[in-house]
Subunit: 244 residues, 2 copies
Amino acid sequence: MADLASPLALMVRKLEIHTPLQPDDREALLSLPHTLKTYEPSAYLVREGEAPEQCAVLLSGFAFRQKLTGQGMRQIVSMHIPGDALDFQHLFLDIADHNVQTLTRADVATIPRTALRNLARSRSAIGNAIFVSTLVEGSISREWVLNVGRRDARSRLAHLLCEFAVRLDVLGLAGDQGYELPMSQEQLADALGLTAVHVNRTIKSLEADGLITRNRRRISFPRWDALRDLADFSTRYLHLEHAR
Amino acid sequence: MADLASPLALMVRKLEIHTPLQPDDREALLSLPHTLKTYEPSAYLVREGEAPEQCAVLLSGFAFRQKLTGQGMRQIVSMHIPGDALDFQHLFLDIADHNVQTLTRADVATIPRTALRNLARSRSAIGNAIFVSTLVEGSISREWVLNVGRRDARSRLAHLLCEFAVRLDVLGLAGDQGYELPMSQEQLADALGLTAVHVNRTIKSLEADGLITRNRRRISFPRWDALRDLADFSTRYLHLEHAR
DNA sequence: CGTTTAATTGAAAGCAGTCAAACTATGTGG
DNA sequence: CCACATAGTTTGACTGCTTTCAATTAAACG
């Protein structure tokens, strides 16, 4: 399809999962001015305290949002996959309240904040789509509070794996054979509020129970239903009711 | 001031903390159709899985958002104070992904979803204000993930107390002598990802260190700076840069 | 007052953290 | 192709924060 010609096509497709767009809206998004850049793993895209003038969109690779405590402990507060916009926040908030980093090498499109903001204002369907996308991120964040606050290590890890699997699958980025989990065990620990050592033990425990299989960082799910049950995972909070 | 004549005045004031509004926008908000109702403590305002047709605004009293695990453990994912709108989510998402409950007896104004949505669409300043308000809630949610994921019980509790104090103070609802904390220790536990027993011990530990003083549920802060330091608390994530 | 709910305390158990070391994979330069 | 460096994974032993279970005390309520 012609859409795939534009680097922003995946972002548009992702927005349309929650909010259908008319062809002219789609066109307007696809023809937003933008520059392309490839970042190395762990590169900072946004730093807490700064005032981003650009809106970064992830085209390939993975990224995450992260906050640090005063003593330097890190908490990853969300994960991002290709197609995710990483800066919708900063269309309307000036100062970044968290850091955004690449997880892997990543291709990123950078859109001037004002161009996107004007588009959101002039075309209400686009404004809606951006708003809804932000709301879904908020819902995911609430689920993370629940996950970190009330589930034990096994369920917590299983939940993260399920979320990742479903989010990738919705965009057709997960194979039938599971997916390549791009996170080190230390990064998993920071996302789960655990230590790397305990993540290691927890992974091996899931593996021992036959709930996951690993080969390098490729993970597959021989007993998806059992993993979903252990994770206490439901897709409701992802708001996929209009997907497909 | 005349504004205070409308029950929605506090909500408007709260929106204006982040987004200044013109008089006509303010008028439009204040004259939104709405009904008033008083709820008892623990009353459900929104239930997960339902499709709210109304937008609830808290006029007096307190409320919280909450999710349950499959095994019935509860996690409070956000706290709400007078002036907070509890349903901006549902202007654009159909299905509720969490529960909303009153904490105390509370006066609530209920605005038809469509009326508010139309206003948000027709007046871009109001749409902005609602968006920004949602973004700030997202920021608070990220801070909660950090709080629950990476701080120990003492800092975690201290952080919650600091957040509450500042949010109340911004609206002029906290006295110099601290404030009436409307939560039971069990509710605190559910907000912090701890057990009620441990919350009790942690409160007493802060008290023993002279960081807080209690009288019934009234809490005051004789050594605010020390508490803030222990809590690792900064107001940045509340995005109050335009307040006052 | 009697009843119920919330707060408090003690003792014991457990999940996860800490510390330290060994092992594996990957990559680089000679 | 091997020696070496680096980053990530794995394992063991021990510690400790938080939970669990149970019982007591205090406060709130009709």
